[in-house]
Symmetry: C2
Subunit: 131 residues, 2 copies
């Protein structure tokens, strides 16, 4: 496990997308853009039950992320790591907070029937880039 | 192999970064931001000999890309595919053209001693998103 530097955290805390790679059942890679967040130790993303990403991560917790600054695409980080927790706890509040980060303080994340949000907690193991 | 729609091509032709996932030797994913381009049938990226991405792709040609629009991060495509060619032919001209796409018509890509550029040609097999 590696600790993110303040500059790397800043890139994550600003409203930049993370492009997250997981492994399909046959071992091939899949990448999708997602909202991203971090705390003192982990990188957090938020998805919904039943989607491809959590299905892939339950099978194989190895994950990679790439984040470039919206304001200056030359600034980026790339992370390889491992999912250490997948939880529904606090996940709707978390996606609402992410919605406000990306769309502004008035944004209200819609409640969708039958959608269960989940937080994916990622332990970074290898971080490089220019941040 | 699938054909890109005009809207998907437009997203690639504008100066948006692609986040490209390849597989490390142990099968774990790696993602990095790269410049991207396409022609009528394939998606093209450009890297240099000896880097992690071409080393990974020579071992396993399975690749995935995610591209979000710089102007509107809600617009994106995600691609799963396969590398069908890795070539040095025309690769310096190609990186120079990409440099002008991302940095404007006056940009001159620097010649670096000992750097051999390569074009990686990707056949898209599965394309989704909102473009």
């Amino acid at each position: 496990m590696v600790k993110l530097t303040p500059a790397q955290r800043k890139l994550i805390e600003e409203p930049n997308l993370a492009h997250v790679a997981t492994l399909m059942k046959d071992g091939s890679p899949q990448v999708t853009p997602v909202w991203v967040d971090c705390d003192d130790t982990h990188i957090l993303i938020n998805t919904a039950e039943g989607r491809q990403k959590p299905r892939n991560l339950e099978r194989d917790p190895r994950i990679a992320l790439s984040i470039a600054a919206q304001e200056d695409q030359q600034m980026y980080i790339q992370v390889r790591g491992r999912v250490v927790e997948i939880t529904t706890e606090g996940a709707f509040d978390h996606i609402s907070k992410l919605g406000r980060k990306y769309f502004g303080p008035d944004f209200v994340y819609p409640k969708r029937d039958g959608e269960t949000r989940i937080i994916i907690r990622i332990e970074p193991e290898h971080v490089t880039g220019r941040a």
